[in-house]
Each structure stands twice: as structure tokens, then as C-alpha cells.
């Protein structure tokens, strides 16, 4: 009987086996492994049973360290236990891994292998993480493909029980974890057959139980620790044979045969490559091509069981003819004699030579090389390059492939034109935007082709690093044979461009094969489409003789009620013209798929999609062409006046050519210049706000809420307007402090994401047409050029004197220059307005420690970064250490700054004679509590430095190095709730307790936003989040109350949408407070399932319902006999459900589990009520002297 096949990604394949073979699953989100935990949680919520006919317990922990601890505990108590992780997460598990292995405990950790943060963080795939665990005693079993991921996962679960060695089962992050491929799943019966019940019994017998008590985890002394450590040897010796036996058992069940080391290629090969992970598939494909088509005799040795490393099994598969071996490592160990796999192979061969057991006549020449770090592409062309190098007399050792190392010249050359992709595979590329649903549609197509036809299918999706206006490129392969190409499409026979403007950004037809089919979503009429194509595209079409089709997908989408989602439409076009399936069959299948995926959301959605399919077929047309007619040239990537580094390096990344950046062009230590987002003009919004100066009341709210600092305000001397562009708008500034000045609100139209927060917040209405406000959304295209000139002019208007502004007002604060601008955050982001406000108020004197998460990604992800500098060159120095250590990281910064200041003050005193006692006194006693004070101190320090400039003594030079630290420096520790409430809480608590002057800003979205909305301890009771698919049963942790307990920590809870002035005041007070400050900021988020344009309304609802009370707790007030706690919002004005059920995260539970929702709602209401009461009581205590006396009396 033919076994059924499914199309899934690697995470799904691993989770499937992990879930079915476990009783306890401890999880924590980290890219790219999060999907495994999410699926497990969803399955458990749905009541899916494992192979033991019971539902596993799935629990989220506060960190991977916590997850590993929980795994250890569950294992010790006899449960079959698993976890899923990657990268830094795996590193956090290492201490427990030693314990679990040392105690010979069967367990499997499924790891989607990922880079480790070094000079920079990377979420992408390589073996840096798993290589960091090879010393723990865990077995390391690698999979090279999605199918192998399922198979090896099973081998791992089976072998661990029998061998008692715990396993890391790994597969490459993204390349395998996120590649969708058609595989044959293991059946429940297969999995049951693979698990030895006796081995489970033995595991249970070793469990800690008071019924058979034992003690494990002793402290051992020099007399026996060593011997104890050696007791495990025989288990490691036996492990490889056990794994092989399990592989053989799997082969009997499924017909898929694996060895610990698999050799493929010519049996008489002289040159072979040794590799593990997904790269093996690309090598294998190249080996077959070279041997079949080029007459080569090469081979590849694929490593599956890396630890325990079995030289015996390795030597058994190396052909006797082998003379040269290239060992490829997907990791880097700086300073080593070679990367780990290389070292293992060399050692195994050298030992064999010494023992006379070499399979070859002579000792082969072994070279090692690095490839594919951080998912760097690894293509057949590169593999060919390695074989070509190996064929040389003296092949390069310790080489790199896939990059241009022009510094230490490690890189090998290769010919990118070498392509092995055959015509038996249909290869399609799709360029789209994240928001247009292109990827979702392609995932759907793969399901259709993979599961409804006999074809094999593969999909891989490339995203850019922006959260708004992000572009996606989908790589789809279909064919009659299994697809093993683990690299991006090199030559496509179908290319779809789902956004017309992407043709200006990317060379979309670069990879197009001759005679291919090109589909474009064109906003133009049939007869105009050709003429609007850029000249480069027209030339390529003519040269490659392409069949060109077009459709106005947005019009069809609008007409069929699909809004801006063109996924179904473009997918229908693809099926109609690509020829992958017969058209009629394809259309029937699309409709079938629509029914499957949308019926859960209601019949109306299904109907709309059906209608879209039908309308697509009626509206798509073929584009006729003959000659190049276009005058549309491609715009430069960045402006001419950009700095060289931006033009030469960052611009390449922006243009999708980052792979061409040379080693010499990269900073050696991960240090980058600030203020580079200004050069990446993305123009991603079709509509932008336009200012109506007649209606404007100059409140400044629009600028304050703009998440992208794309609305700026200046008050200035009217004389400057003489050189203003014609359409530049201005009016008389309102307010006494701005008498005789002009006022302008200017929109950076190319940087605006069109979120509409500004329009929503604007309180002014047009007296003749009330739907119009002082800012109104208008089409971007017609005004782009004029507004670009206006914005350039605006930026050159001098900034208002900071020291003359009322900073505790919205109007005053919004005349400050933002030093955080045009980030890649989501359109309408609820976090960035706070970050930007901090940059406005304190950005010129701030160092930021930023926890990993959304704020570190929009704050520091290349190519361009948003933290900026002012005209004096001052700005926010920013760094990201890790996720878990951010409070401590910022604390360390404070220690250093304080020490620098202290030394500078000591030196100042010692230089009194030279610089003058008056200056010394003035500097030491300076009041730097406001802008004017800081400005004056800067002037004094400048004068001081002038005086010191002539001093060439060591002491004098040391003083000069430190003098600037005499000016106040602010430390801001910024991160999300995942950091502050969960993984970083221990450190945060310690730093709060330290009493040091740091400012902690928690951007509270109540979920792990960056990794896709997993539950944190901040998540509200009753909210649905990933890892809380049945609604969070426990209330939100009250972090502010915990911090207030210290008594000496400034604490504030803010929500800009509810009270913007309170937000500003809290930030100012926190920074002014000479001690630790904690500000918890309500940040609406795309993960809440809301209309982001109404984000501020949601903030207000949260406050009005009493769920998010606004307050400031200022310990300084106690000295003045005042209660430190001041409530800034008034109880509950609306029902809690009026707030929470306006958001999908809560509302969806009423649709999925109405009974649970009802119960949780009541609990949530009770909780809000009791918390409010407590706050009100605390705020009512009498702190006055009189009060105390009365009490005493």
C-alpha cells in the first residue's frame, strides 16, 4: 500500500516526532525553533494524543535555562521529556546538558541549528550552536532534509532510551526548519514500533520517587570524581551501534536507509567532501551531476551521528581510492587549528594510520573549509569550486567558500554560472510584500501540488529584516522526483512580481531562464503595462524571449472584497499560466484549498476568495511587445550625498547584493555608524499625511505618536522662508514663547509607513468639512517629489534651542529633534513612539542597553539603523548584548560611566592650578538637572579641554580622554516584556535593588512580539497567545508593584494613547531621579490583533477599564512628606470586556472556547478590581509628618 505523503517544514517534522514520543515538553521561544513549541502547544490544546495515547504536558518556561532545568527535573522523575531550541537558547541549556548526560538520562533536544551572536546577532542557520555542545556528553545526530528531520528525530527518541545517552537532534535553521517539502510521515504504528517499552520501563525504574528513594546529584571529592566520570565510557562505546540498529529498524519500516556515515558517489573516487547538515544535499546533487554529466569521479561522505564520533564507522565507508578529502564545517572557531568536524576527521585518519587501519593506500590529504555561516547560500557552483580546488596539487587548507575574503585570502573562487538545475524540475520565483500574502499563497500552492498530485514540491521563503513594508522572495520547485536542492533557485522558468515597484528595487529577471514565463501585477491598463516596465526589464524580456502576463490584482481584489490581499489572485494566475498543473484541475484545487483553509473563519471569507479566483481568470491578459519603449531608468539605491560607507557597503545590502560585500568592507568588531536609515528611502506607503496649516492647533500630538519620526515640527525665524521651495507650508507659531516665529509640521513622505496614527490622534477638525483634520491622508505618488524637496529644506532649518522649551509638554517636547528615526518597525508600532521620545528628551547624552527582541531588531538590524546624531555629532550610543542579560549590561555601563566621572573629577581637582579653581568649582558643583544646566556644563568642559589641549603629559592626556564624562550621561535599559518579566527578570530585579542610577524602559506588548506573539508573564489573563492557545489562565505579573516594594525605585506605568503628558512627565522624572527607575509602557502591537491605526484608542480603553492604571511612584516625594504613589488615571470607567473584546487576542477565545472565555473574563474582572483597590489604598496613605504624629499618638 502506498504510504501517504504530506508537505511540511522541518520544524513541523521534528515537532511531530517530539510531541508523539514525549510525556512532558518544556518550551521557550527562540528563532528558528519557535515553530516546534508552538505546534506542540497547539496540538496539546486541541487534545491530540501521543503514541502512548495521552496528551503531553506542554509548559513554557521563563528562559531556555529554565526549560532545560524543567526537562532535567521531568527526566529525573521518569517522564519521557523533550524540548526545542536553538542558538543562544541551546547555550543556556549547556549546564543542564552536562548534568543530564552525566546522569545517563535518555532525552532528546530538537535543535534548529542557528548562528551564535558574536560580532552581531544572526537568526539564521549554521552549526555554531550545536558545535558548542559537543563537549556536554550529548549525542549529536544531524538531519540534512525535511524528510531526514522526521526520520532522525525518531532515531534519536528511540536510540536515547536504549543507549541512555541524551541526544541533540539537529537540522539547519531556516534552510531545513522553514523549508516546506513533501515527505512521507511516520505513522503512529511506525513510531510505536521504534520505541522499546522495556527501555521506557528501565527509565521509569531510575526515576526519583519516594516509593523507591535514591539520591542523585552528590558532590564528589578528588578521590572519586574522576573515576565517576569514567564510568560512562561503555555507554558511549555502545551508542553508535545502537543508533545504527535503530536506523536499520527504521529502514525496515519505511524503506529509507541511513548509516552513521553515508557515502555517495563514485566507488573509486579520489576526491571527496565530508559534510553534515543540509549542505550535504547540495553536495550530493553536485556529485551526481559531475559524475553523470562531466565524467568526474567524486564523492561525498555525509555525517549523521557526529557524537559519539565513531571512527570505525567512518573508515568503513571511505573508498580505498580516496586521496584527498575536503571537510566542510558550518561554524567558525577563531584561533583553533581547524573547525571541529575537520579536526575529528583528521584525528580519526591519523589514528587509523598509526594503527594501520586506514582504508586507503596512503594517508589522504585533508583540508578544511568553512561555508554557509548564518544561512549564507551554499550552491552547486560553490561545491564545484571546492572539488576544483581539491583537484589541485596543493589545495588550500582552512579555506572559506561563498564569500570574498580579500583580507586574509581564505576564500576559494567559483563560477556562479555553474548550475545543475534540470528541466525535470519546475522552478518559480515570486517577489512580493509581506502584507500582500504572497508567501501564504505560495505555501498554499505547495500544499496543493504536494498533497493533491503526484508531484514533489519544495518551498523556501526569504524575508528582509524590516517589519513594515518588508519584501518577500519565494522559491518554489515542483517535479516528479524528490527535490534535494537546498539552495535558492539559480535559474527560474517562472517569475511572478506581485508588486510593480519591486522591479525598481530588485533585478527581478536576473535568474530568469530563456523562454520563461513572467507574471506581473500591473496597476496600469492592458495597453499601458509594457511601456511602464523599467527599461532594464524590457530588455531582459526581449533578450530572453519571455512570455509576459499581467493582471491588475489590486483592482480585482478591491472588486471582490479582498481588500489589499492579492494572494489568491496571484496564485490563480500562477496556476493558470505556469503549466505546473492542467488549468481546470488547478482551479478546482485552488478552490478546494480555499475551502480547507478558510472555512474555519466563516463562509463569507470562502465566498470572497472563490469570487477572486473567477475574476482573476477574467482579468488576466498576455502582454504583447516588440521593442524597448521604456524611459524608466532605475533610481540610485542611495542619494549621492550619502557617506562612502553607506554608498559602498550598506547600499549593496539594500539592493539585495549584500553577498558581494567583501571581508575588507565589513567592520572588524561589529561597530557601525549611526543615523543610516535616513539613506534608505523606502517609500512604502501609498498614502501619507499632508498638513493643513489652517486647521492645525499646533498641539504636537501627531509628531509625538509617529512611530517612524516621519512627522517633524520646527518653530523658526520667518526670514528663512525666503529660500523655501514653492510648496513648503508654514504659518505663524502659536504661543507666547514662539512670538514672531513661523511654524511648520513637515512629513517625511518617503519614510512614512502610512499607519495613520497621526490622523487618528489629531484633535483639530476642518470647520467646512469635519472629516478633514490638520493632517489628512493623501496619495503619496503625486506629492512625493515636492515633499522630498520640502523635507530637505525643513531639515536644514535650525533646531529650536532645547534649553528654552517646556519639555514637560507635548508641544515643547515635540520641538526636540528625534534621534531615533525611520526604523523598520511595524507600521503603527506601539513601542517606537516611546523610544523616540526618550531619544528626543535625552538622546544627546544617552547610552542604551537594548535587550534582544523587536526593539533590538528595528533598532539595530542591518542594512540601516535608526539611532541618529544631532548637528553637534552627539547621539545615543547603542548596544545589544543578549536577551537575558540586558539589565546587567546596562548596569555595567553605569558602573563604567560613574567610574569615568569619578576619575575625571579626581583629575579635575588635581589640575586645579592649571585650569583654575573657579572652573573646577563650577564644574564640580554644576546643577545638571535641566537642559540649560547640561548645556552650561558642556561649555565649561569645552573650556577645560581647551586649557588641557597643550598638556602632553600622560596625566593630562588621560584627563582629556575622560573630561567629557564630567557632563551628565544617562543610561537607558530598554527591552520588551519577554525580557523584563521573564528571561531577564532576575537581573532586572538585581539592578533595581542596586540603587544605581539607571532608567529601565519596558516596552510592554504583553507577548514575545519579535518571535511571533508567545505568551509571557506579562500576558493578560484570558488572552490567547502562542503557548497559551487556550487563553492565559493566570493574571499578568504586576512588575510595577514588585518594584515599588523596594521603596527606593522610581516606578511609573504609562500609556501614551491615554495620557501623553503623563508619559512625558514620567520619563523626565525617571531620568531626573538619582537612582533606579522602572517605566512600564503599554505598547499596542500587531500581535494583539487590532487595527494598528487605532492603537492609541486601545491604550485608552486599557486605562479606562482599569486594566492599565496610570501612576507614578516617586520615592523623592517621601522626603517632602508626600505619598510617593500618585495615580494618574481614575479607576474603571468602562467595563473590562469593552476593552479586551475589542482585541482579537481576547475575542478569539470567545469563538474558540466560549466557556473558558466566560470563566476567564470573570477572573480577569475580579483581578482588575482587586488590583485597583490595592493601588488606591496605597495612594491614599498619609505620608505627612502630621499623619505620622497622629498615628503615633
Amino acid at each position: 500500500m502506498e504510504r501517504k505523503k504530506i508537505t511540511v517544514d522541518g520544524n513541523d517534522a521534528a515537532a511531530y516526532v517530539g510531541y508523539h514520543n514525549s510525556e512532558v515538553i518544556a518550551i521557550y521561544p527562540i528563532t528558528p525553533s519557535s515553530g516546534m513549541g508552538e505546534l506542540s502547544d497547539e496540538w496539546a490544546a486541541q487534545g491530540k494524543k501521543n503514541i502512548f495515547n495521552t496528551i503531553p504536558h506542554v509548559s513554557e518556561l521563563q528562559s531556555e535555562g529554565g526549560a532545560a532545568g524543567a526537562v532535567h527535573g521531568a527526566l529525573q522523575s521518569g517522564a519521557l521529556t523533550t524540548t526545542f531550541t536553538a542558538s543562544q537558547g541551546l547555550l543556556l541549556m549547556i549546564p543542564n546538558m552536562y548534568k543530564i548526560a552525566g546522569e545517563l538520562t535518555p532525552a532528546v533536544f530538537h535543535v534548529s541549528a542557528r548562528s551564535i551572536a558574536a560580532q552581531a546577532l544572526s537568526i539564521f542557520g549554521d552549526h555554531s550552536d550545536i558545535m558548542s555542545t559537543r563537549q556536554t556528553g550529548f549525542a549529536l545526530l544531524g538531519a540534512a532534509s525535511v524528510q531526514e528531520t522526521m526520520d532522525m528525530a525518531m532515531v534519536a527518541h528511540s536510540a536515547t532510551l536504549e543507549s541512555r545517552i541524551p541526544f541533540v537532534h539537529f537540522f539547519d535553521g531556516f534552510r531545513t526548519s522553514h523549508e516546506v517539502n513533501k515527505i512521507e510521515p511516520l505513522s503512529i504504528e511506525d513510531m510505536q514500533a521504534m520505541i522499546d517499552q522495556d527501555a521506557i520501563r528501565r527509565h521509569r525504574e531510575r526515576a526519583l520517587t519516594p516509593d523507591r528513594p535514591v539520591l542523585r546529584g552528590t558532590a564528589q571529592n578528588p578521590d572519586v570524581y574522576f573515576q565517576g566520570r569514567e564510568t560512562v565510557n561503555k555507554f558511549y562505546d555502545a551508542c553508535p551501534e545502537i543508533v545504527q540498529a535503530k536506523m536499520d529498524q527504521l529502514a525496515k519500516l519505511t524503506g529509507r536507509s541511513y548509516k552513521l556515515f553515508d557515502y555517495y558517489g563514485a566507488s573509486d573516487a579520489e576526491n571527496i567532501i565530508v559534510i553534515m547538515g543540509s549542505g550535504a544535499e547540495a553536495v550530493l546533487e553536485t556529485v551526481n551531476y559531475m559524475n553523470d554529466k562531466l565524467g568526474a569521479k567524486v564523492g561525498v561522505l555525509i555525517v549523521r551521528l557526529y557524537r559519539p564520533f565513531s571512527p570505525k564507522h567512518l573508515l568503513a565507508v571511505i573508498p580505498s581510492t580516496v586521496k584527498k578529502i575536503s571537510v566542510l564545517d558550518r561554524t567558525k572557531e577563531p584561533g583553533s587549528t581547524g573547525e571541529p568536524l575537520y579536526m575529528d576527521i583528521v584525528t580519526a585518519l591519523a589514528e587509523a594510520q598509526a594503527e594501520g587501519t586506514l582504508p586507503t593506500a596512503t594517508m589522504p590529504l585533508v583540508v578544511g573549509g568553512r561555508y554557509g555561516l548564518s544561512s549564507k547560500e551554499f550552491t552547486p557552483a560553490m561545491v564545484k569550486g571546492i572539488y576544483d580546488e581539491l583537484a589541485k596539487d596543493k589545495p588550500k587548507n582552512h579555506f572559506t567558500i561563498g564569500i570574498n575574503d580579500d583580507v586574509t585570502f581564505t576564500s576559494l573562487d567559483f563560477d556562479p554560472a555553474f548550475i545543475t538545475e534540470g528541466d525535470d524540475v519546475s522552478r518559480s520565483l515570486f517577489y512580493g510584500l509581506g502584507s500582500d500574502g504572497t508567501v501564504g499563497a505560495n505555501k498554499n500552492s505547495i500544499k496543493i501540488i504536494g498533497e493533491e498530485t503526484n508531484n514533489y514540491a519544495q518551498g523556501y521563503f526569504v524575508y528582509d529584516s524590516k517589519k513594515s513594508g518588508s519584501t518577500t522572495i519565494s522559491h518554489l520547485r515542483f517535479g516528479k522526483k524528490e527535490i534535494h536542492s537546498t539552495y535558492l533557485i539559480q535559474s527560474a522558468n517562472f517569475i511572478g512580481v506581485h508588486q510593480f515597484m519591486l522591479m525598481e528595487k530588485f533585478d527581478v529577471l536576473e535568474k530568469m531562464a530563456n523562454g520563461g514565463t513572467f507574471l506581473v501585477n500591473s496597476p496600469y491598463a492592458k495597453e499601458e503595462t509594457w511601456n511602464h516596465l523599467p527599461k532594464r526589464v524590457q530588455k531582459q524580456i526581449i533578450d530572453k524571449k519571455l512570455n509576459v502576463y499581467a493582471i491588475d490584482a489590486y483592482t480585482v481584489a478591491k472588486d471582490t472584497g479582498m481588500g489589499a490581499r492579492i494572494n489568491t489572485i496571484m496564485q490563480t494566475c500562477f496556476f493558470a499560466i505556469s503549466g505546473v498543473l492542467e488549468k481546470e484541475e488547478a482551479i478546482a484545487q485552488i478552490k478546494n484549498a480555499i475551502k480547507k483553509s478558510y472555512s474555519v473563519k466563516g463562509e463569507d471569507v470562502v465566498k470572497k476568495n472563490y469570487e477572486a479566483v473567477d475574476q482573476t481568470l477574467a482579468n488576466m491578459y498576455q502582454v504583447e511587445y516588440s521593442t524597448v519603449t521604456s524611459e524608466v531608468e532605475l533610481p540610485p539605491v542611495v542619494a549621492d550625498n550619502a557617506p562612502d560607507f553607506v554608498k559602498n557597503v550598506l547600499a549593496q545590502m539594500m539592493a539585495g547584493k549584500g553577498d558581494d560585500v567583501k571581508v575588507s568592507e565589513m567592520p572588524v568588531d561589529g561597530t557601525f555608524p549611526l543615523a543610516t536609515t535616513q539613506w534608505e528611502k523606502r517609500s512604502i506607503s501609498l498614502s501619507v499625511p499632508a498638513w493643513d496649516e489652517e486647521v492645525c492647533i499646533q498641539c504636537g500630538k501627531c509628531a509625538m505618536v509617529c512611530p517612524h519620526a516621519a512627522i517633524r515640527i520646527k518653530a523658526y525665524d520667518g526670514a528663512l522662508l525666503e529660500s523655501a521651495p514653492e510648496t513648503f507650508k508654514s504659518c505663524d507659531a502659536k504661543g507666547k514663547e514662539f512670538a514672531d516665529l513661523k511654524y511648520t509640521i513637515q512629513v517625511a513622505t518617503e519614510d512614512c509607513t502610512g499607519c495613520e496614527l497621526c490622523f487618528e490622534v489629531c484633535p483639530a477638525k476642518n470647520k467646512s468639512e469635519v472629516k478633514l483634520k490638520a493632517l489628512n491622508m493623501v496619495e503619496q505618488m503625486p506629492i512625493r517629489e515636492a515633499e522630498k524637496a520640502n523635507y530637505d529644506f525643513f531639515l536644514n532649518i535650525p533646531e529650536f534651542d532645547r534649553s528654552k522649551l517646556k519639555l514637560d509638554t507635548v508641544k515643547g517636547s515635540q520641538l526636540l529633534q528625534p534621534l531615533f528615526e525611520y526604523s523598520g518597525a511595524c507600521a503603527g508600532c506601539g513601542e517606537t513612539p516611546y523610544v523616540k521620545l526618550v531619544s528626543q528628551l535625552f538622546g544627546d547624552r544617552t547610552v542604551v542597553a537594548n535587550a534582544t527582541g523587536c526593539s533590538s531588531i528595528y533598532g539595530g538590524n542591518l542594512p540601516t539603523t535608526p539611532w541618529a546624531v544631532n548637528k553637534d555629532g552627539r547621539g545615543t550610543a547603542w548596544s545589544n548584548s543578549l536577551f537575558e542579560d540586558n539589565a546587567e549590561f546596562g548596569f555595567g555601563m553605569r558602573l563604567a560611566l560613574d567610574k569615568h566621572q569619578e576619575q575625571a573629577q579626581e583629575l579635575l581637582v588635581s589640575f586645579a592650578n592649571e585650569v583654575g579653581q573657579d572652573l573646577v568649582n563650577a564644574i564640580l558643583t554644576a546643577d545638571q538637572s535641566d537642559e540649560a544646566g547640561i548645556h552650561e556644563q558642556r561649555e565649561r568642559v569645552a573650556a577645560l579641554k581647551d586649557k588641557l589641549n597643550g598638556n602632553t603629559t600622560d596625566e593630562g592626556k588621560r584627563f582629556l580622554d575622560l573630561a567629557d564624562y564630567l557632563v551628565k550621561k544617562s543610561v537607558w535599559i530598554i527591552g520588551g516584556d519577554g525580557w523584563a518579566y521573564d528571561i531577564g527578570y532576575g537581573g532586572l530585579d538585581h539592578v533595581l535593588a542596586s540603587g544605581k542610577n539607571v532608567n529601565i524602559l519596558v516596552l510592554d506588548t504583553e507577548v514575545y512580539s519579535n518571535t511571533g506573539g508567545q505568551c509571557s508573564k506579562s500576558t493578560g489573563l484570558g488572552a490567547v497567545a502562542k503557548f497559551a492557545a487556550s487563553g492565559k489562565p493566570m493574571p499578568k505579573k504586576d512588575l510595577s508593584m514588585m518594584a515599588m516594594n523596594y521603596g527606593y525605585v522610581y516606578v511609573a506605568k504609562i500609556a501614551m494613547g491615554a495620557n501623553d503628558v503623563q508619559t512625558i512627565k514620567a520619563l523626565l522624572e525617571a531620568e531626573a531621579y538619582d537612582g533606579p527607575s522602572l517605566i512600564i509602557a503599554y505598547s499596542h502591537c500587531i500581535a494583539h490583533g487590532i487595527d494598528m491605526a487605532k492603537g492609541l484608542d486601545h491604550q485608552k480603553l486599557a486605562v479606562d477599564s482599569g486594566y492599565w492604571p496610570l501612576f507614578r511612584f516617586n520615592p523623592s516625594n517621601v522626603d517632602q512628606g508626600k505619598n510617593p504613589l500618585k495615580l494618574d488615571s481614575k479607576g474603571a470607567k468602562i467595563n473590562l470586556e469593552d476593552y479586551i473584546y475589542s482585541e482579537t487576542r481576547y475575542k478569539m477565545l470567545t469563538k474558540s472556547k466560549p466557556e473558558v472565555a466566560k470563566k476567564l473574563l470573570q477572573l480577569a474582572k475580579d483581578d482588575v478590581k482587586s488590583r485597583l483597590k490595592l493601588y488606591e489604598q496605597m495612594a491614599s496613605y498619609d505620608y505627612s509628618k502630621n499623619g505620622e504624629n497622629e498615628e503615633e499618638a
Partner: protein, 332 residues
Amino acid sequence: MDLKTKYMGLELKNPVAASASPLTQDLDSAKKLEDAGVSALVVHSLFEEQLSHESGELDHYLSAGTDSFAEATSYFPAQEDFKLGPVEYLDHIANLKKSLEIPVIGSLNGVSKGGWVNYAKNIQDAGADALELNVYYVPTDPMMDAAKVEDMYVETLKAVKANVTIPVAIKIGPFFTAMANMAKKLDEAGADGLVLFNRFYQPDFDLDKLEVVPNLLLSSKYEMRLPLRWIAILFDKVKASLAATRGIQDAEDVIKLMMAGGDVAMIASEFLRNGPGKATEIINGMTAWMEAKEYESVTQMKGSMSQKSVGEPAAFERANYMKTLQSYKAVK
């Protein structure tokens, strides 16, 4: 005194029913209405928009931002199943049925033939004794002619009828050019009852916020004249039962409506103003009046002053208008 009446085949103990209001939305107050003597109640309306937008919204918000960013290809856990539609509403009907003895009439409010009409069946399954289809449509499109609007009413009614076996009444507004003809069309389309008339709440302006705001005013006594006239005209011209609603405040109003030919008088505003106990007062008032005037039953008086039964049928027509104007004496 025999106050019994029949509405769409339902035997009612008297003609005083509660029309949809916050009182029928709450189990406790519904119970109070029953205790005060009302003979049937109409549950608040389930709106077409609620039903169709719900699935669209859910799809929109669950998929917003998905597949855009490598670290977050989605933001919500996948759910196997959503209980879309009027779960709470249906629960409410089921609970009313459990706690009350009087007939419970469900209500659907919509204007098109979309999938939402399937929910009529759910309402029936939840135990409703009948269904009121409430059509509230303001034809603002200048390109839409009267025939199209009328067709829409008819087609919607047919679609709902096709889904249920319980009786279906249609509640309409008074703004039809050919009211009698429209009533006839609905009658022919299968309406078991006509509820006359829907009130079209007129929005108000908030001059501080410069916003158009919804504004609900309770009906006034004078408003019952409109259903009174049309029930009198339609009595015996349509097979459908006739329900009066709007501005009914006391026993006399109910009696007038019965005499015009109504089968039931539906009251909301008066109960909201004076509490469910008002029902007892009205019913007692009816009994007292009937006793005083020696009426035996409601059946006896039903239609006694309808157009066909009065000596001067023109009183309901143009002639009445003329008379009214002439009889009006300006204040001097």
C-alpha cells in the same frame, strides 16, 4: 375576560407582547415581563453585519502581519475550530425557553441574501417559537430605484423562510411608496406576520466633537397612529398576522390596535420607561375597559374598526387628510 389572541399561529394569552429591547436581552428582566403578564417576547436582533463581519474580521486580524518577517511568520496559535456566529445569542434563546413559558420570538436584522440567513435555522434550533426578520435599510444610493429596494425585502424574506419551519414575521418601516402593495408582496412571499413599523433612529450631531452620533429616543404616544392606520387598512387584505409596534403606552392604545385589526401589540419604550410592571396595568386596563363596554373577547373586537368595517373607509385615506387640515384651528 377572554384576552386571547393568535399571532402567526401562536396562541397568546393576551395581545400585550414585549418587543426587542434591553429588557428582553436580560434573563431576569425577561422573567419579570412574563410575570407581569406579557404574552410573548421578541429577543433583541442579531445583525447581518455582526455575522458576516465577524468572519471577515477574524480572518483579517489573525492573518495581519503574517509571513512578512522571518522570526514571526504568524502572531496567533492556529485554532482547529472557531464557533463563529451567534453562540451567545443562541444560548440566550435557549435559556429564555428554559425559564419562560410564553413564546419566545427570535430576531434577525439584515438586508441581503448572504450566508447569514442560515442563522435563522440556528435560532429555530435553539428553541425559538417564531422569528422576526427585521429589515432596516436606508436606501441612500441614488441609483437604486424603488423596485430594487422592494425586491430586496422580498428576496431576503424568501431566503429566511427557506431556512426554517417556524413562523416568520417581517418588521418593516413605513417608507414605501406603495405600502399596501408592499405588504401584499411580502404576504405572498410567505410572511406569517407583518410587524408595523420599524422605527428609523435618526442620528444626531455632537457639536463639541463635530461627530455624528447615534441617538435613541423612546417612542412617543402619537407614534402609534401610524401602525393604527395601516393595520386598519391592511386588515383582511393580507393573510399574514398583523403586529403593531411603536408608541403603544396604555390599554386604550392596545384596544384601538385590536379594533384596527392587529393581532398583537408589541411594546418596548413604555416598559423601559415604567418597568415591566406596566404590562399588568395595561392588561388590567383592557379588562376593565372591556368589562365596562361589555366586550367578551379580543377576538370579538378584532378588526371592528378596520377600513373595511367602518362606515367611512375614506377616513383612512386622502379625505382624512383634508378633514384634518380643515378641522385644525390656529391659536389666535
